[in-house]
């Protein structure tokens, strides 16, 4: 462990636990927006970060979709990256050793086109050192193979969760799709299948059109909508799921400030992940951590855990 680690002071009121894993605080970088963590080393103190989820890792490296891959919309952006990633093997060999020096929890986000793909990636990652948990990305809308998205079907999602749980040498977080009629059905099925925690939400499927060129703005056609625009939908889903599920939740969707993060915590999330905001405010994770400390001061809290799901019904 590095010199920095020993000197970084943590606010112990912010510590949380998910599936037996200790996080110094509930603030993490979201998958696909935080690279392999290392990209942020020059911008923030990674030792202060609760944790982060890696870019979706597949058994084999993926080159992703042709450009254009992103387009900004009002309050958000659409992306169709197509899960470009170095592959689980290269992650274990090239990235993990570099991450060992930081006191932050590394969550390996796992992706595949089939159940077997997922299991293969998990098996590769089981060899790695310094991974705290897996996050199963069953909700990426930007890959054409596979037909229906696994994450939109409670049955398919539960089946994969069960298999993944058996294969996984670490706690298993499953990331929920918001593109469903009833997210609680999905959550229940996945929780019953053995997931240790749930993270939500992934992006909503959207589209933007260049009306002069008369073409989709993204080469892929549709993309995933993220950013502040989707926050109300995400908060609602966390709130709904928290009411029916016992396992811990990680809230995601449009968080750009401590107040945004607190909406998720009050709605029932034990921790949060910040995605898109990292792009336009690279130090946002640090600002949110500081803001949570201020909130604890203001509200006289001994632990942020007291706030989890503490919303007062009208």
């Amino acid at each position: 462990m590095s010199e920095t680690l020993r000197t970084t002071k943590h606010d112990s009121r912010l510590a949380v636990e998910i599936a037996g894993i200790h996080f110094n605080n509930p603030v993490m970088g979201a998958s696909g927006t935080f690279g392999y963590g290392l990209e942020f080393a020059g911008l923030i103190d990674l030792n202060r970060l609760g944790g982060f989820a890696t870019k979706g890792l597949s058994a084999r490296p993926l080159s992703g979709n042709p450009p254009p891959r992103i387009v900004e919309t009002h309050g958000g952006m659409l992306n169709a990256i197509g899960l470009q990633n170095v592959g689980a093997r290269a992650f274990v060999e090239e990235k993990l050793p570099l991450l060992a020096q930081y006191d932050t929890r590394v969550i390996a986000n796992v992706f595949g086109y089939s159940d077997d793909d997922y299991l293969e990636a998990i098996n590769m990652l089981n060899d790695g050192e310094g991974i705290a948990a897996y996050e199963l990305n069953i909700s990426c809308p930007n890959v054409k193979e596979g037909g229906i998205v696994i994450g939109n079907s409670p049955v398919a999602a539960a089946r994969l969760t069960e298999k993944a749980k058996r294969a996984a040498a670490r706690p298993l977080i499953v990331k929920l799709s918001p593109n469903v009629t009833d997210v609680t059905l999905l959550a229940r099925a996945i929780a019953e299948a053995g997931a240790d925690a749930l993270s939500l939400i992934n992006t909503l499927v959207g589209m933007a059109i260049d009306v002069n060129a008369r073409r989709p703005r993204l080469n892929y056609g549709t993309g995933g909508l993220s950013g502040p625009a989707i926050r109300p939908i995400a908060v609602r889903m966390v709130y709904e799921v928290a009411k029916v599920i016992r396992i811990p939740l990680i809230g995601i969707g449009g968080i750009a400030s401590a107040s945004d993060a607190l909406e998720f915590i009050l709605a029932g999330a034990t921790a949060v992940q910040i995605g898109t905001a990292n792009y336009y405010d690279p130090r946002v994770t640090m600002k949110v951590i500081d803001g949570l400390t201020d909130y604890c001061d203001r509200q006289g809290l001994e632990s942020i855990n007291a706030m989890v799901g503490s919303i007062i019904e009208r």
Partner: protein, 295 residues
């Protein structure tokens, strides 16, 4: 790479739609010709994403300026700020224009790709430079021209713009002040030759002007593609600075990619990020035919 809040010294309109933004920084900024910054009105709610602007000039260790065209929501928001206003700035980003010996690395990368495409190899040590600026692409190459001049590399500038007015907005007077040979073309003929600047460029190469030269080009995608074609036809080394919609500017969103020739298995290396792998690329590596890259 520094993420900071800069204070506006001036934000002046040069000609309608073109502005010069001068920023003061708390800390010293190390920036090189061809690098860029991601800028946005401080803490503005909308648009969310910062915009990429090339470093136009370095006035001192804590003062830089940017030349920009007011296009959409992001640059409009910047245009509304006045002296004393605050700008969120992440910089300096991307690679720099290689000069002299630095060219070797680029030659190496380029020749790997060329072995695929069967292009002829370049002379090892070009002693001449041809700088092609198209529209606001000029912002990326003013410091390059000055650097080439300082390094005593024989340099010719090919400067293209839509009109006389636009040329002035794109800093023409600053280029003229360098006192280097400068060929001018405007789409409407209001200044210099009528038509695209690729026409005088092509004549120049046809006349042998490309011998021992490296072309440095920055401008719209279609123009870059045409410059690359001309360079290839006359076997002249060519570097281009490319644009792509950018999410982050520091390599993490993988949104700004362009397709390149790749040696890697499974095509994993087939996309390169403009923000960290570029924005300057050897023209021969670019897969221009990936039509989706045009905007």
């Amino acid at each position: 790479m520094i993420d900071t809040v800069a204070i506006i010294e001036t934000n002046r309109e040069l000609t309608p739609g073109y502005r010069l933004l001068t920023l003061n920084f708390e800390q010293e900024i190390a920036a090189r010709a061809g690098q860029f910054a991601m800028l946005k009105a401080h803490a503005a709610f909308e648009p969310l994403l910062r915009r990429a602007l090339a470093v136009y000039r370095i006035h001192g260790p804590r003062q830089l300026s940017f030349l920009y065209q007011v296009l959409g929501r992001g640059t409009q928001a910047l245009a509304e700020l006045g002296t004393g206003g605050k700008v969120d700035a992440l910089l300096a980003l991307g690679n720099a224009w290689p000069i002299g010996d630095e060219l070797r690395e680029f030659q190496f990368i380029a020749s790997r790709a060329m072995s695929h495409t069967g292009e002829a190899a370049q002379s090892d040590r070009p002693r001449k430079a041809i700088v092609v600026a198209g529209g606001i692409g000029s912002a990326s190459v003013l410091m390059l021209c000055a650097g080439l001049q300082a390094a005593h590399i024989e340099t010719e500038i090919f400067f293209g713009a839509a009109s006389h007015r636009v040329a002035l907005g794109c800093g023409l007077e600053d280029f003229r002040a360098l006192d280097l040979p400068l060929a001018l073309a405007t789409d409407d003929g209001s200044l210099g030759e009528k038509g695209f600047v690729t026409a005088p460029l092509e004549r120049h190469l046809r006349a042998g002007g490309g011998a021992d030269a490296t072309i440095y080009a920055c401008g719209p995608w279609v123009m870059m593609r045409r410059v690359a074609e001309i360079a290839a036809a006359f076997h002249v080394a060519c570097l281009v600075s490319l644009e792509a919609p950018m999410g982050c500017g520091f390599g993490v969103c993988v949104g700004c990619v362009i397709a390149v020739e790749s040696d890697a298995p499974l095509g994993y290396e087939s996309y390169k990020r403009v923000c960290v792998d570029g924005s300057i690329f050897a023209a021969q590596r670019i897969r221009w035919e990936v039509n989706a890259m045009t905007h």
